[in-house]
């Protein structure tokens, strides 16, 4: 057990709720509570710095649609949202693929469908946890990706939450303790649970100030033919 790993956190939750680390039932409930706290914090919509990741993945000749899950599986990660894609050309330069709405990209691709050509991807759209790049790759390329990771429940004792170490105990343990105490019921437990939630709320606000600083990229919604760069000539 290391400081801040899963076992450390659920043991602290057990201690805090006066449960028993040697009791399998209590351990199972504490694990559930810590995971619940973890998922809850990660899913509040706050732009947590610790959720932002970047990676590279390969696209294949002629395949323009890729699901988040397929990309994540290839990269052994879970993707909550893709924000930005980048492209390296053969000369070592590159560009950021423009993101646009599904209809916008469709209009572009539709306008060229009679004589569609493959090429280096320069734009993409996303819907239903998948992306479509355009034009379809005329050969295999490696795309860069900036994304927000999908937090997963911890299973193994040695797993470490994505939260910075400094915030793991302060955020996850009070929430988990409160959950455990709520389960137990009784006035004394309820009061104690409320106090833990007060602790959690305070820690959450402070954590938001400290670590929810990420700036979400803005979509640059553009129409085909807006500028030269976006002129498509088959």
């Amino acid at each position: 057990m290391a400081s801040g790993d899963f076992q450390d956190l659920y043991n602290k939750a057990i201690y805090g709720s006066r449960r028993d680390t040697s009791d399998a039932f209590d351990v199972a409930r504490a694990k559930e509570a810590v995971n619940e706290a973890y998922l809850y914090v990660a899913s509040t919509g706050d732009p947590w710095d610790w959720l932002e990741k970047e990676a590279q993945f390969n696209v294949q000749y002629g395949q323009d649609v890729y699901t988040y899950d397929a990309i994540g599986a290839a990269l052994s990660t879970q993707i909550a949202e893709i924000h930005t894609l980048t492209m390296d050309d053969d000369s070592g330069g590159g560009w950021v693929l423009d993101s646009m709405s599904w209809p916008a990209l469709e209009r572009i691709s539709w306008s060229t469908q009679d004589d569609e050509r493959y090429g280096e991807p320069i734009m993409f759209s996303k819907w239903d946890r998948r992306i479509r790049i355009f034009p379809p790759p005329d050969e295999a390329y490696t795309l860069g990706m900036f994304y927000r990771i999908q937090v997963q429940e911890m299973v193994n004792d040695s797993e470490v939450p994505l939260l910075p170490l400094a915030w793991r105990t302060r955020l996850l343990v009070p929430f988990a303790c409160a959950r455990l105490l709520r389960q137990e019921g009784g006035a004394e437990s309820a009061n104690e649970a409320d106090r833990y939630m007060v602790d959690f709320d305070r820690a959450f606000r402070e954590a938001r100030t400290a670590t929810a600083t990420a700036k979400m990229p803005s979509f640059r919604l553009q129409s085909p033919g807006w500028g030269e760069k976006y002129y498509w000539e088959p």
Binding site: R18, D20, D23, F25, E184, G186, E188, S189
Partner: protein, 724 residues
């Protein structure tokens, strides 16, 4: 969190009758090897061996007392296998005092001390009761024909041959006349003075003739063991048919003698008593020396015996139990009359006829009274002159399906214990003419299951029955098990069968020890309590008489017989023998409660175990979910050196909405220290449940352990879904 403090836990007593969730917080749902001499639960000490090993093992009973005649303390034991009675020698070994001639058919149990004699009762209802007066230096039994000389008016007997004797030995003779003809039945009298090996003075036999008995050839036995007068009629309804053989062969109408198992062993003989031919006449009495036919016997002296005259066959107190009550010896358990109680006149020397004058005042002039031409004793004209009181003490009637098991004396009445009832004998029996004895039924139930369980200590009786364990208090039978361990006891007794035993003993005036064993385990399943994984074959309980609580079980101590004694220079002891692990040894349980060594004498350590109520959190209730958070144990586990004694603690929790089955949490043990002080140990539990129970187990006892006690435990709880 709320706290529950239990001062002096477990001293509320062991109560297996009550579910563990329904007992009080200071009571114990299970307890073993626990005593509480100062009101604090602690581990008992070890019992000790008393004296050396008796080589002839298979011991069945033990007794020790101070003998007034010899002014010494002697421990005697009896053997189950052959009925021998032995003196326990120091430092080891055993010397036979009584070589039972009847083989394995019976064995003797010491039951009381009367007139300075320790009385051993044969358990076949046929063999004679034995008297032992403390003779130790001469333990041989010497029987021989010798020329006996007794001067006129003397009580000193001289023999022509050697008879090793000492004060406390018994002189057994058949009274003789000057002519040398044996008269009457044999008698035993203690020897109160010796002068070499050929001259000794009897306590109560005198030559009352006007002429000396000089060199009369007769049979004499000098032995550490004596007998009683044949005062017990075992057959009363025959009549003389004919007397032949010169007056010593008697044929009668009546029972087949073989069914009576007539004892013709010399000087232990059964006797023939013939009614006077006319009212007011003299009885005739003689030893039966042989059985020559189904209805024919031979006697030691001439019987006139008119045809048609009633005869009785007398036996030498074949009591299964005897006790002293208001100065009289009461006996019962005679095979032919299992419902009858016999009683000797108060203070009477039981070696001579009941009609003889009181000892010390007027010695029995056996010599003079035998100086007749036949077996008639002048002046002995009543049946009660020959027999211990036999009329009117059939309880409840002459024939009843439940024989008397034991007699116990109280300060008021004599309790007569049957298997399923209790009767009382009220009144006194100074003599047959001064008898006020009446019998009253005391109780249906509360009977006695085993003679060895019936004891009296300082006039307070205790006995065990199939339904409970009893005492007599304020004129009523009190069941000590009621509401405490009664169901467990009854379950044990369902396994009582032939060869089983239940015995009780008192120790330190404060504790009653009850041991049951050789039980049929196919029937004792209901006695599975606490740690038990199988139906028991034996169990020993200990009861605190001061606080009226059961302290629980005793491990490694399951005696077949116990004897409580207090001797002048040896202190008090609860002596015991068992039929198994400690054969040949006499165990003394007294140090176990008064401060003996840490271990039992066989190097087995006591193992204190105690379980609290299972409803600690709710204080005698089961409603409400509660988390058992912390436990504080105030204990003193004190080893004098190199502490290794260990008191284990565990908590069993269950019945939770979440976790229903019982779960055991083993806490960090308490290890002894070398400071004799109560320390505080905190342990975290944090288990949830409706039922919580704390268990202590003294798993390791160091040889230097001085004290292991738990004065207080404190618990903190957090209530959960109360009322759900």
């Amino acid at each position: 969190m709320r706290r529950l403090s239990i001062a002096r836990p477990f001293t509320g007593g062991y109560k297996s009758d009550t579910p563990d969730y329904a007992i009080g917080s200071s009571e114990a749902s299970f307890a073993q090897d626990m005593i509480a001499p100062l009101g604090i639960a602690r581990q008992r000490h070890g019992w000790a061996y008393s004296g050396g090993e008796v080589v002839a093992a298979n011991l069945g009973a033990v007794a020790k007392t101070t003998f007034s005649l010899t002014s010494n303390d002697v421990t005697v034991v009896s053997r189950l296998s052959n009925g021998y009675v032995l003196k326990q020698d120091s430092p080891s070994g055993g010397t036979t005092l009584w070589a039972n001639p009847r083989g394995t058919s019976t064995y003797w149990i010491p039951r009381c001390v009367y007139n300075g004699d320790l009385l051993f009762c044969a358990q076949d209802g046929e063999s004679p009761m034995l008297r032992y007066a403390g003779a130790t230096s001469e333990t041989a039994t010497t029987t021989g024909t010798t020329n006996l000389t007794v001067p006129v008016g003397a009580m000193t007997f001289s023999t022509s041959t050697t008879f090793p004797a000492t004060v406390g030995s018994f002189l057994s003779i058949r009274p003789v006349s000057g002519s040398g003809v044996s008269k009457q039945a044999s008698i035993s009298s203690r020897i109160i003075e010796t002068n070499g090996t050929q001259s000794f003075t009897s306590e109560s036999i005198r030559n009352g003739t006007t002429s000396a008995v000089t060199a009369v050839s007769t049979t004499v036995t000098v032995s550490p063991i004596g007998f009683t007068w044949p005062a017990v009629p075992i057959y009363e309804s025959g009549t003389v048919a004919a007397v032949t053989g010169g007056g010593t062969t008697v044929t009668f109408n009546g029972t087949n003698l073989t069914s009576l198992g007539v004892n013709t062993t010399n000087l232990q003989n059964d006797a023939l008593l013939v009614d006077p031919p006319t009212t007011g006449g003299a009885f005739e009495v003689a030893d039966i020396t042989g059985v020559s036919g189904a209805v024919q016997l031979t006697t030691s002296s001439v019987i006139n015996g008119t045809a048609g005259t009633r005869i009785r066959i007398l036996r030498r107190s074949p009591f299964k139990d005897a006790t002293v009550h208001k100065g009289s010896l009461y006996g019962t358990g005679v095979k032919q009359y299992p419902n009858r109680v016999f009683v000797f006149p108060a203070t009477k020397d039981i070696g001579i006829p009941p009609g003889a004058p009181l000892p010390k005042d007027i010695p029995y002039d056996a010599i003079s009274r035998a100086g007749y031409s036949n077996a008639t004793v002048t002046g002995y004209t009543a049946l009660s002159d020959y027999t211990a009181f036999s009329d009117g003490l059939d309880i409840p009637s002459r024939y009843d399906s439940t024989p008397i098991v034991a007699l116990l004396s109280t300060s008021n009445q004599l309790l007569v214990l049957k298997p399923d009832s209790v009767y009382g004998i009220l009144g006194d029996f100074v003599s047959p003419s001064q008898s006020t004895l009446t019998v009253a039924k005391i109780s249906d139930g509360a009977g006695c299951i085993d003679l060895r369980s019936a004891v009296t200590y300082e006039s307070v009786p205790f006995w065990a029955g199939s339904e409970g364990i009893y005492t007599w208090r304020n004129g009523a039978v009190v069941d000590l098990t009621a509401g405490k361990v009664r169901q467990e006891w009854q379950a044990l007794m369902r396994g009582y069968t032939t060869g089983s035993f239940v015995t009780t003993g008192l120790v330190a005036g404060s504790y009653l020890v009850v041991s049951a064993g050789a039980l049929d385990s196919t029937k004792t399943g209901g006695a599975i309590v606490g740690l038990d994984s199988a139906a028991p074959t034996n169990r020993t309980f200990i009861y605190d008489l001061r606080t009226d609580i059961w302290l629980g079980r005793v491990s490694n101590f399951n005696p077949t017989h116990m004897w409580t004694t207090s001797v002048e220079d040896g202190g008090e002891a609860l002596l015991s023998v068992d039929g198994a692990a400690h054969q040949g040894r006499v165990m003394n349980f007294y140090p176990a409660v008064t401060g003996g060594s840490a271990s039992d004498a066989d190097a087995t350590y006591p193992r204190f175990r105690a379980w609290t109520s299972a409803s600690l959190a709710q204080a005698e209730g089961i409603e409400g979910e509660t988390r058992f958070c912390d436990l504080m144990v105030h204990s003193n586990v004190y080893d004098q050196t190199t502490p290794t004694s260990t008191l284990d603690i565990s908590v069993v929790s269950g019945g939770s909405l979440y976790e229903s089955p019982n779960q055991t949490k083993n806490l960090t043990s308490i290890t002894a220290d070398t400071t004799n002080r109560v320390d505080r140990f905190k342990r975290q539990i944090n288990r949830v449940g409706r039922l919580h129970q704390v268990r202590f187990d003294m798993s390791v006892t160091d040889s230097s352990n001085q004290n292991s006690e738990i004065p207080e435990i404190v618990m903190s709880f957090r209530d959960g879904r109360r009322g759900t």
